[in-house]
Symmetry: C2
Subunit: 641 residues, 2 copies
């Protein structure tokens, strides 16, 4: 398609195109708009500039005529013979900010719009955002506002606000792509932005060789979290085996439990069935920990038993190169409408029925947070930390290789489960990005995501570890943020689901108070502003040289009594939603007595930060043994905000 045809197509699709006119080769150039760019148009010439086929900044008919002659002679020098089907295109030159808009075809997310600053600065600043072609207006706005150039659209330095035009331009592009399913990728580059809107000045379109690759729609699944009769296949009396840990943890289940081991016998007083055929009832849920070579035949045996949910803990599939068995798992899942978790995973936990089918911690606190992780080791570390800090879960799901159930399926199910109030996800590589985005978009619960594999080196490590594509991090982050997900920068932040807006800091030290202020602001949270009443209340309790500002510096000689008074006062302040007790080892600091204050019930979360080493260890041990959260560095304390 030559430029004038492309311009006509874009213009018909609703894009604003600069005035242009096509001339036959020998036709004199005469226009009512200047300055113009004049370019040769011929299917024989792909790179016009290389053959001198372009002239810019032509201010009048004389200059245009001179340019036409010049171009024709230069093309002749390149021994290209033009014919009557060739011609010139004259385009009005438009002044303004150069932007870029394009549609890429990402291997994970499919067709995604890139939009932002264009020209040579596109590469230097990478000031672009990522917008799904199915994104609605809020999502589009959220994405655009992550770019710095978007300040220009909001009415910068008194200029006219143009955000509506920008959003409508993106929507035109979304429509254009959907209405032309044969387009695979397209670049509108540059798009010139000025007070009259956005003008597509140049474009490139790439078509599919295939005419369609519509993604598979998500299967309607039965509820995974409905577990009545659970079978542990591979229960073992050998405490070094995964099958021991799972069977042991499973004993706390409120429903019916059957343990299976080919050798029979008993497990902690419970019968071990030699085979599934010995079990007569319907088994809805099974966890499998036997060697990988027996997994598929076991599932085939489970199907006639009525199994719907299968957790495959066993390793030895895609991660060691066996993709064939995973394909078979997928086929079985589709044919019999199974929900398969794994293989190569740490297991599954569900709180309402005390169902712990993991080989991680056996003492999981009940709570309202669902934790999904693609790495068993990350999951076991977080579970161990959660136990230590008294954090509870509604669900824990180790996704493993995701042969059948992926993040999209899991999030869709968690969205509907009333026990789960917030979702945290640790992801390395993902599949079916569009379905994943849609599940996040539809979920009304707060979601936090940590994505590993930001650097090429880490993506290599992740791929060898899970066999999944890790993808482009900025795109992943941008798309997830635009659907409202909170992307966190540490895995520990996945244990905290609540977003804190107004923070109070009570401290015995000015310097660390300054640092935590920076940390809080950097994380996008705020320090609560003390009201006149608050100041008076604190004045009555504290020495006269306290900071009279938040961080509330109660001075280096503060002992537990003063911390207690300040804490009681701040705990009663309505606007505060989190309190940090920031304690440094001063000569007279009775740190243990201070942290003992946390044994009492406070109306707000109170998180101690113990800044130091040996002098803090007794207090740290106290908090650990009382399952209380505790931080030992200022940056760790801010990481979950």
């Amino acid at each position: 398609m030559v430029e004038s045809e492309l311009f006509s197509l874009l213009s018909k699709s609703g894009f604003q195109i600069p005035p242009f006119h096509r001339f036959a080769l020998q036709e004199p150039i005469s226009l009512d708009f200047y300055p113009i760019a004049l370019k040769i148009e011929s299917p024989k010439i792909v790179h016009k500039s290389d053959v001198g086929g372009v002239a810019i900044s032509l201010s009048n008919a004389d200059e245009a005529e001179a340019a036409r002659t010049r171009i024709l002679s230069r093309i002749a020098e390149h021994t290209i013979t033009l014919d009557s089907s060739d011609g010139f295109i004259a385009t009005a030159m438009i002044q303004g900010e150069e932007l870029f808009a394009g549609v890429v075809n990402d291997p994970i997310f499919g067709q995604i719009i890139l939009f932002g600053k264009g020209g040579v600065l596109l590469e230097l600043y990478r000031d672009v955002c990522y917008i799904d072609i199915h994104a609605g207006e809020t999502e589009i706005l959220r994405a655009i506002r992550t770019t710095k150039i978007s300040k220009l659209f909001e009415g910068f330095r008194g200029s006219k606000p143009m955000m509506d035009q920008i959003v409508s331009f993106i929507q035109t592009l979304q429509r254009f792509i959907k209405e032309h399913p044969t387009i695979r990728e397209c670049d509108l580059n540059p798009v010139i932005f000025n007070a009259n809107g956005l003008h597509v000045v140049d474009a490139r379109i790439e078509y599919h060789t295939l005419t369609s690759d519509t993604p598979p729609t998500q299967r309607l699944r039965s509820n995974f979290f409905d577990n009545r009769h659970v079978a542990v296949i591979g229960a073992s009396n050998d405490p070094n085996k995964v099958g021991y840990a799972i069977a042991h943890n499973a004993l706390s289940f409120n429903g019916k439990l059957s343990l299976v081991n080919a050798r029979g016998g008993t497990f902690e007083g419970h019968r071990l069935y030699c085979s599934l055929t010995e079990i007569e009832d319907v088994i809805d849920t099974a966890v499998i920990t036997i060697p990988s070579c027996h997994v598929i035949e076991t599932i085939e045996a489970l199907i006639p038993k009525g199994a719907k949910n299968i957790i495959i803990v066993s390793a030895g599939f895609k991660e060691i190169g066996d993709t064939r068995s995973e394909e078979r798992l997928k086929e079985l899942a589709e044919e019999y409408n199974l929900n398969i978790i794994g293989p190569n995973c740490l297991g599954y936990y569900e709180s309402t029925q005390s169902l712990n089918l993991t080989f991680g911690s056996s003492s999981i606190n009940k709570g309202s947070l669902a934790l999904i992780a693609q790495s068993g080791a990350v999951l076991s570390s977080l579970m161990d930390k959660a136990t230590q800090e008294g954090i509870g879960f509604s669900h824990i799901l180790s996704a493993g290789n995701m042969a059948d159930m992926g993040f999209a399926d899991i999030i869709t199910m968690l969205s509907a489960d009333p026990q789960c109030e917030a979702i945290s996800l640790y992801a390395e590589g993902i599949q079916e990005g569009k379905a994943f985005l849609e599940s996040l978009r539809s979920c009304t619960k707060p979601i936090r995501v940590y994505k590993a594999g930001k650097s090429p080196q880490a993506r290599k490590a992740a791929f060898s570890h899970t066999g999944n594509l890790s993808g482009d991090y900025p795109m992943f982050r941008g798309l997830l943020e635009s659907v409202g997900v909170k992307m966190v920068d540490s895995i520990e932040a996945l244990l905290y689901a609540r977003n804190f807006e107004n923070i109070a800091v009570i401290t015995n030290a000015g310097g660390p108070g300054t640092i935590i202020t920076d940390v809080i602001i950097e994380r996008g949270s705020k320090l609560y502003t003390l009201s006149k009443n608050d100041l008076e209340a604190l004045d009555a309790l504290l020495p006269s040289n306290w900071s009279r500002n938040n961080p509330i510096d109660i001075i280096g000689d503060a002992r537990s009594e003063r911390f207690e008074a300040a804490l009681q006062c701040v705990d009663a302040m309505e606007g505060v939603d989190l309190i940090y007790l920031l304690i440094t080892p001063q000569m007279m600091t009775d740190t243990l007595e201070i942290v003992r204050l946390l044994e009492r019930p406070w109306s707000k979360p109170v998180f101690p930060i113990l800044l130091g080493g040996a002098m803090m260890s007794e207090a740290l041990l106290f908090l650990r043994s009382h399952s209380k959260p505790c931080f030992t560095t200022l940056h760790e304390a801010g990481a979950f905000l």
Copy 2:
């Protein structure tokens, strides 16, 4: 100064100016360069655009003449009467990338050059660097390379490398400012960059009302670290008093020690002198912990005793509003060439003579790192942590209010001291930025700096805490990095002086291995690449499914024997300079046995990362009680890189 005069001045000073010509008001415009901008020049018109006094993109004499007539009639409409001293300036319009160069007069650092991307994007991207007007070529280059736009100067997409011209432009600007001492601030905006170099297209200069404000030169001081006879003034038997802690810590001093308390008596078997007059010898160093109202008279009494070095621990000066006493301290210091540290500080430590004059930890390990901190609480926390992790110091200096000795003085002295091999500094507000920069520039030892007060909220907290200006963070960071300082993002990173280039990770977990890879790359360090020999050596020791890549994933079932074998192998690899042992709580992990490996001497630093909670606590306690460093989160483990 009108534009044509300014252009002449800049041109004479070595700047490249576009062709320009001044015309009398009625003179016909005729030039041999086009396109041009035409502007009215009159001292009566400050804002030319506001009165229609500017026309741009004029391509020939006809257009220029038409513009001249148009401008004159618009000015007449504004009822401004021009006379024969007024005229027009015609300037060639230059195409290229808009840059900005300016000299600001910073309250802390004095005259500093700002250079970077200009135009409307200056505000949006803040892609600028900061260059001292005394910076040499290396420093200029380091600064410029922190900008993204600098890629354009290095030969971007096959264009001509132009970095030499950029550096020479900055040097021209430095010379210009030094040769015109009455210039206070100046903006060259825009500067147009293209293949022909940099062209100053517009300029604004602001002059001093005063003709000179040369900064005070640094005083030549006696060596602070030469301490023979030390007096503790305010030694106390009350263990709740600072005077107790300091006197107690001072007892380990190798030189002569005198303890003073107005009430006399003894302190742990040592005589307490009632007054300085009772001491006959020369006292070269004194630490003062008595109430602030007696400090100045005490110093006056110390001067006849020959005191050169005075550490004022006592608080109650500038930080509570008493600037008068601090001025007196400064006067005394200058008159008698004293080195005064403080007031309002935690004290001083020097390793060669075991001189601990702090009221922080009494068990300080000897080492080669000098630690300077402006916050006593940050210092005591870091000292406590250092004791726990077995980190040693050559010097510790609590800077306090810096009435006399500032960072520049301290760094200059540490530069010359052979015990000190690296310097770490915690700074909040600073004074005399030029002297500070010069001390850093002259120091050949590695220096790390943490600067608090990034956000306005934190700057407010810092000011109320120390009474010093905290300044603009990006400028502080930029200037320090350009003199070769490593700016760190956590205070704990101040305890690690060495920069690690090639890191090996031994782990029992793939997911956390992926995350630590991201952390290492983000910090600017590298993962060591395993050679063919390394791979073979590890193949011989590890199960066949190990990662065959660094992070060296030795698989989830690894016990201490496998960790030991891998550690021995990696410790022998020449290119590795740091080893992380990244341990997650898997079912069979014998974490305590693994960390016991650290009791042995290894040729490289080995830092364990214990990722988890309760299951890791025994190993963590072991490491703490053996004064070994240990990290519990991946981001903490990377923070010091």
